[in-house]
Symmetry: C2
Subunit: 454 residues, 2 copies
């Protein structure tokens, strides 16, 4: 049987990892990327330039033999540094287990690394500045337009769209939606985000704690910061578009400055570029895209953000996209060169996971925004925090999702939610959570959830 002609649309994190893996399996792949080669041109200014890489992402990098190299270029974040409006900052470790931490990584840096990996294989051809403008679902023809040149059409056996939230391959599915019964939903939050910066100190020093994810939780909005290798921090303000303390209410330099001075006094003196950043960087929207099916006729497939764009509140968007490649590779392992089965099985097995992480990420937004004002929730959090510090066998919902790399998201969600209910019930009936012994809490969990704690 002649080898399948495969093309990948989009050379982002998911596309470049997938191309590498397919090449390792001896497959020949053409990759088209509408943007320039980011190893040669600086792009993406003002758009989410660092991300939290965690165990599922590393699992996928391990698959191509790249875990150790990547680990050299990340900054471990061992916990959340909470900056309250008043009082001392506190560092909350992700768990009592030493191996449980997440890692700040540069998105363009990781992407460049993965493109280099893909370039190591003769079987991968990377075409930059080449936009896919149309996909013909009947013939497998993709229409390509190289910047400054005309359109050409090429035909492939397999077309995989890893072209992000605005995916052209997904649009082809949408256009044929009556015929292929393509279910699709796109939902936006009323909250948006803007990227800002804390520059490095002298000699590339870090002006706030380096090895933490910084959070300034406020009422209805929040600020976060992740460290970069050069000593700077990428800061993100999450705020509603309209109403009080919103992007639209901050309509003058003076208002922006006084809002930041008042709400984030401890970074007042280390964000000198605030006003410049404010104007240069867009206030971007945050949305969840779900759709189904992801494949059509065993020939066309969408993966990563193209199939399931999620909000960033679980730090799992990139990890999920990388894990997509891992699961897809498992299907190749299972079905060999039966691509029809590979695509269909991937579709079936991966969909519940993507739905789960989308829901978890959205829940976490509301939890971070609203639940922190709820005394029961705060007591529950303290009970669980102590439990996880004192008992290494206990995984909170966050830890199940983030650190249990072999547990599918949907199972992590199910167990995490069940645990939360038990702990919330406990927190509801206790005045002082610190008076509750860890043994009592564990006993409750064993009784209520023998399937997880039996």
């Amino acid at each position: 049987m002649p080898q399948k002609k495969i093309c990948i649309i989009g050379a982002g994190l998911c596309g470049s990892l997938l191309a590498t893996r397919l090449a390792q399996r001896g497959l020949n792949v053409d990759v088209y990327e509408k943007r320039p080669d980011l190893r040669r041109v600086e792009i993406d200014a003002g758009r989410s330039i660092n991300l939290a890489l965690s165990d599922r992402g590393f699992k996928a990098l391990r698959m191509i033999g790249a875990e150790e190299e990547v680990r050299k270029h990340v900054i471990p974040m061992y916990g959340r540094m909470i900056h309250p409006l008043e009082g001392e900052n506190s560092l909350y470790r992700y768990s009592g287990r030493e191996r449980d931490f997440i890692n700040s990584v540069s998105r363009p840096g990781l992407n460049a690394f993965l493109l280099n990996k893909a370039d190591d294989y003769e079987d991968v051809d990377l075409y930059f500045n080449t936009a896919c403008t149309q996909v013909n679902l009947d013939t497998g023809e993709v229409e390509l337009r190289k910047r400054g040149e005309g359109r050409v059409t090429k035909k492939y056996d397999i077309v995989i769209g890893t072209d992000g939230a605005g995916s052209v391959v997904r649009q082809a599915f949408s256009r044929a939606s009556n015929r292929i019964r393509f279910n699709f939903s796109q939902k936006f939050l009323d909250t948006g985000y803007k990227e800002l910066t804390i520059p490095p100190g002298t000699h590339a020093s870090f002006l706030i704690e380096k090895n933490a994810l910084h959070i300034w939780p406020r009422d209805g909005f929040m600020k976060i910061a992740l460290p970069n290798l050069d000593g700077s921090f990428t800061v993100t303000l999450f705020a509603p578009f309209d109403g009080e303390n919103s992007f639209s209410s901050l309509d003058s330099d003076e208002k922006v400055r006084s809002f930041f001075d008042r709400q984030f006094p401890d970074t007042k003196d280390i964000m000198p570029d605030l006003i410049r950043d404010w104007h240069e960087n867009p206030s971007s929207s945050l949305g969840t895209i779900k759709c189904w099916p992801w494949q059509y006729e065993g020939r066309f497939l969408i993966m990563g953000d193209a199939a399931h764009a999620i909000v960033p509140f679980y730090g799992q968007g990139m990890n999920c996209a990388l894990e997509d490649c891992y699961v897809f590779d498992q299907m190749i392992e299972e079905f060999g060169d039966d691509w029809n089965s590979i695509l269909k099985a991937y579709d079936d097995r991966r969909k519940p996971s993507a739905d789960a992480i989308a829901d978890l990420a959205e829940d976490n937004f509301y939890e971070m925004r609203d639940a922190t004002a709820d005394p029961v929730f705060n007591r529950k959090r303290r009970i669980e925090l102590r439990l996880e510090q004192e008992d290494p066998s206990y995984y909170s919902k966050y830890s199940l999702v983030t650190f249990k790399e072999d547990l599918p998201y949907e199972k992590a969600m199910k167990q995490g939610r069940a645990q939360n209910e038990v702990l919330m019930e406990l927190a509801r009936n206790v005045e002082n959570p610190d008076a509750l012994s860890t043994e009592v809490v564990k006993q409750k969990l064993r009784e209520a959830l023998p399937e997880y704690f039996g």
Copy 2:
């Protein structure tokens, strides 16, 4: 203040009713319709050509003074004629109230009637064969292409899309979705439909009961039939696309014929065109479209199926679209020439109603498909049927939705669901529903739901 320049994209039922009403209010409207004038050319062959018009639709027709005229051209259907596979047919009246019935109406007939109405007003200009190809949300320019001619651009103050489930105006919202945070969802059923026919008998006689909506409920599929003025019936087969008794399993004339003979023996001899219809008419998909917001900047609006396409299982798609115009007119009454407020208020007030009827219609699909096999559900149905026949003040969920024309859909849904829960509970605990006196049932409802029955 100079009058607003208004354009309506789409001259279907919703667009032509709206144009008429706006003209009655002294407004000047241009209407663009991509298809030919259906009063001159026969179109739409094989696509749902009759519909059930009920009280909400008549309310909207009354608004333009057209109720009585339309009533002359419809066929009242007083109840559901159930055709079981074995045993006698039974007619179930919609309620014990004489005024509660629905009406079979020809879609092109009603559309032609409404176009004539619109044509009565000098202030309405109808342009047929003229597709809107693009809407510019910044400028209010619409790009129009008349068949056989080039593209022209016209600018309007208000652009209203009543251009159906594939709305071009909604597509403009979708394309700007990040900027305007346009939430959108499209969901398909695994079941599709195909239109078939029972032709008239001699002298335009009706070969099955004229004044009923005929239903052949089966396991996982069903057939329905609505009467036409010429003595024919439009028949629709609803069946899954795949699996047992599905469109894809019926892949030869012989299989189609034997399926119909076996499943619908009582129409075996009165559907002579079955095989021809089967080939000529498509197997179409059924989906629900929800989106939000429906308006942008007080200038652009979508209405009818363009904003909320629903599945047909409540017989409310058309009625809802016509009621949209009624509610929109109320907003004009309230806000005068403040179009910004009109569009926003319409958006806010109408959205819950559209969501409710979409959910009701989907629920009803599953109810018709699955619940009829549930003995508790069947007992509940008998209890409620008797209640509604014996007590004219009682409205079932179906009756609240269909006959209480002033009760918004969302309120009908809420009350209907609450009643159903009470009646299901009763049905669960009773062996013989006929032994239950209506007085006992009413007492239960009064106790459980004093807000509705107090």
